[in-house]
């Protein structure tokens, strides 16, 4: 599971101006909250909206999970990443360092 692997990155870089926003796409509130608590995730966790407020598929055109977008200080999307395999966080960390 990918999200817990992001927690160390968040803790390491949050003081330098790094944020994580995780949006749960399927509105499975019960399982999502249980998962968040179980894994001690402390970054921002949001739930996808419905209808016009649906963000994941309509606005960001996400077709597969997990999909991640890395946004720079100017609000521009610099990287897209599909999936989250072991080892991906090393690559991600380099990209974060490059933008900080």
């Amino acid at each position: 599971m990918e999200l817990p692997r992001l927690q160390p990155l968040y803790e390491k870089y949050k003081d330098q101006g790094f944020e994580i926003i995780a949006v749960e796409g399927k509105r499975d509130t019960e399982r999502a909250t249980a998962f968040i608590e179980e894994n001690g995730l402390t970054y921002t966790m949001l739930e996808n909206g419905e209808g016009d407020d649906e963000v994941v598929g309509n606005l960001y055109k996400v077709r597969a999970y997990p999909s991640s977008f890395l946004i720079d200080r100017d609000g521009k999307v610099m990287y897209f990443h599909l999936g989250f395999d072991a080892g991906d966080e090393e690559h991600l960390e380099e990209e974060i360092q490059g933008l900080l």
Binding site: M1, E2, L3, L6, L9, Y13, G17, F18, E19, I20, I21, A22, V23, E24, G25, K26, D28, T29, R31, A32, T33, A34, F35, I36, T44, M45, L46, E47, N48, G49, D53, V55, V56, L59, Y60, K61, V62, R63, Y65, P66, S67, S68, F69, L70, I71, D72, R73, D74, G75, K76, V77, M78, Y79, F80, L82, L92, I96, L99, L100
Partner: protein, 338 residues
């Protein structure tokens, strides 16, 4: 290739597990043995054990409706997990020679193509498709599978033929027929049909380009670009820009090649696939690799889009927005709990 086989393996496993409770009434020994295999499968903890089960089943009952699945399981567990493609090929090829049902031979054959390629055995993809075609028309997905496999194997004529077969089936009627249980709106149908068309046109363009019909190939690419869907970052949901960019590079249209390949290499789902060709195009334009990294980062800066703001609720019921993170580096991750 790996990804496709992995998917198949998952389908195989789900299929095996889902079938567990089913009790066959007839005394068909192949079905009795299949039921036994399903229980044993769930107990089998190692790839070796799974390979042994599937191999044993195929040896005893080579030509049943389960042959394709058995072959996929062997290809995945023995060929990939245990890294013994030759051993997997030996088992699968013997079984395939005994499979009479064109449906099963097609399924097993498609799975075995990559394997055959890795042990350097030519496997005739056209015959597999033609045999099945003699029994019933191929579906859109089957034409696509054959075309994509043929592209991978460099069988351009077959790829062309089946891309056109797929294109012919990229119609609203056919789409609805393929999903009888889904109630699509006309708009959803239109979007999906265009996706199908774009994908078939992309594949056909690459086949035609390799067959030497450059003009028609370029028309196909342009048509696919016109109707195809793109990701949030503007990358087609097909390998269009990779194929088109490589074709443009070979034709000496270096600027266009750089544009197309940059999109794919900087913002695509699989950046590594396009990057070597982008480097090639860069060298063709600039004479050397010098400055390539700077080129990548300045192009990324120039092409990157601003992330759309949104408002959503957190789990305490507070409205939160992406704009709250303005001025920070933000990872926006979309997920769901499994």
């Amino acid at each position: 290739m790996f990804r496709r086989s992995l998917l198949t393996a998952i389908v195989v496993l789900v299929g095996l597990a889902a079938g567990c409770a089913k009790v066959e009434e007839g005394p068909d020994p192949a079905e009795v043995a299949y039921d036994a295999l399903k229980s044993a499968w769930n107990e089998a903890e190692t790839p070796e054990a799974k390979v042994a089960l599937a191999t044993d089943y195929l040896a005893r009952y080579p030509d049943t409706k389960h042959s394709g699945r058995m072959a996929s399981a062997i290809i995945y567990y023995q060929g990939q997990e245990l890294q013994d493609p030759q051993g997997a090929w030996d088992v699968v090829s013997v079984a395939m020679a005994q499979i009479e049902d064109p449906e099963q031979r097609f399924t097993a054959g498609l799975e075995a193509l990559g394997l055959a390629d890795s042990v350097d055995v030519p496997l005739d993809i056209a015959t597999l498709a033609n045999d099945l075609g003699a029994v019933r028309p191929l579906t859109f997905d089957e034409h696509q599978q054959v075309a994509e496999m043929a592209l991978e194997l460099g069988e351009w004529t077959i790829a062309d033929e089946h891309s056109l077969g797929a294109l012919e089936l990229a119609t609203p009627e056919q789409l609805r027929a393929d999903y009888p249980d889904r109630e699509f709106t006309d708009e959803e149908v239109a979007v999906r049909v265009q996706r199908r068309q774009a994908s078939a046109l992309t594949n056909d363009g690459w086949a035609l380009y390799n067959l030497g019909d450059t003009e028609l190939a370029m028309n196909r690419f342009a048509a696919a670009d016109e109707i195809g869907s793109v990701t949030y970052l503007g990358v087609p949901n097909t390998p269009l820009y990779q194929y088109w960019g490589r074709a443009a590079l070979s034709e000496g249209d270096v600027d266009r090649a750089i544009d197309l390949l940059s999109v794919e290499a900087l913002f695509g789902e699989d950046p590594t696939a396009a990057k070597p060709y982008l480097l090639e195009a860069y060298v063709a334009k600039n004479g050397s690799e010098d400055g390539f990294d700077e080129f990548l980062s300045s192009t990324r800066n120039r092409m990157a889009r601003v992330a759309d703001d949104f408002e959503l609720l957190d789990y305490e019921g507070n409205t939160r927005s992406l704009a709250e993170t303005n001025g920070k580096v933000t990872l926006l991750a979309f997920w769901f709990p499994t």
